[in-house]
């Protein structure tokens, strides 16, 4: 008979019953588990977008390859990867109880996120200036622009949300309202945004590079 069965029959104490009922799944606190569940769900969202992009790209003849330079996307990738490192340093500082250090590194991460978003918007503006919009593409099928702006836009939305979360959690951590776990959970989200970019770059940018 399991402990839960014993509990039902009143054979274990109330405190043991509470321990059974509150034991975290995989020994992970509820807030962190919630973030992991969100990440899994969001993975499905991005995977759905990228797989749909794959279908359309494969079955559309004369798919456009409008990108001539990798400089901007390479710089964006470098910034996002570096922001993951600064986030890790922020989490380690928080673990050590170094509040000002943790806040400083989280703020640097947020600044790198803003820089990434600015570069992204600058790229968008360049494409829009050339005539690309959500429903029009000067280089061929309008499906390219629709997919490009949708997928990169969804990612940019995640980066923007991440920047807001980093600032809010950083300030509250420094003010003593949040603890190191909250910094770590925000970091999980930030690393996920970085992870998604690792798939967006080759599929959306590099495969559409003109040679």
């Amino acid at each position: 008979m399991s402990q839960a069965d014993l509990s039902i029959h009143g054979l274990v104490s109330r405190s043991t019953e509470n321990e059974i009922m509150t034991a975290p799944t995989f020994s992970v606190p509820a807030k962190k588990m919630a973030m992991w569940l969100f990440i899994i769900a969001d993975t499905a969202t991005f995977a759905g977008c990228l797989v749909a992009y794959g279908f359309i790209r494969t079955y559309t003849p004369n798919w456009p390859r409008p990108f001539h330079s990798i400089t901007n996307v390479a710089l964006m990738t470098f910034i996002l990867l570096t922001s993951s490192l600064t986030m890790l340093i922020g989490v380690q500082s928080a673990r050590k109880g170094d509040k000002s250090g943790a806040f400083r590194w989280v703020a640097i991460t947020a600044v790198l996120g803003v820089l990434f978003a600015v570069l992204h918007l600058r790229e968008w503006m360049g494409m829009i200036a050339e005539g690309a919009t959500l429903f029009h593409n000067p280089w061929g099928t309008p499906l390219f622009s629709s997919l490009f702006f949708s997928i990169t836009g969804l990612h940019l939305l995640h980066v923007s949300g991440g920047v807001v979360a980093l600032i809010a959690v950083g300030i509250r951590y420094q003010g003593g309202r949040y603890n190191a776990d909250d910094i770590e959970i925000t970091g999980l989200y930030w690393h996920f945004v970085d992870l998604v970019w690792m798939f967006v770059v080759p599929l959306v940018y590099l495969l559409n590079l003109s040679h």
Partner: protein, 103 residues
């Protein structure tokens, strides 16, 4: 002790090494983009590199290497979802090319 404190204190050295590896892998993707190969070959190579990058980020940046149960839950669930999405390929092929196996 918070979960953050409970993590193995591997220091920044390991994170730096993983960061450098990720930069190298990202650079490899850019090199692949300039190779004189077919789009499908390019896609396969880039996808393999991206999966390795994602694995490193998950294990070391997101600390999945420290919790075996959570690791299998996340990886198992995500792989199942991704495999499920692949069903669409056969349907897309049917829509574009008809259903030759049904003739």
């Amino acid at each position: 002790m918070t979960t953050a404190e409970a993590h193995k204190d591997s220091g920044i050295a390991q994170d730096l090494i993983v960061y450098v590896f990720l930069l190298i892998l990202a650079a490899i993707q850019f090199v692949i983009a300039y190779q004189d190969i077919s789009t499908s070959q390019m896609f396969e190579r880039m996808l393999v590199v991206a999966i390795i990058e994602a694995g490193l980020a998950l294990l070391f940046f997101m600390h999945l290497n420290e919790n075996r149960g959570l690791r299998w839950f996340v990886v198992g669930f995500t792989v199942a979802v991704l495999l499920g999405l692949q069903y669409g390929w056969t349907d897309a092929h049917r829509l574009v090319n008809g259903v030759p196996w049904a003739k």
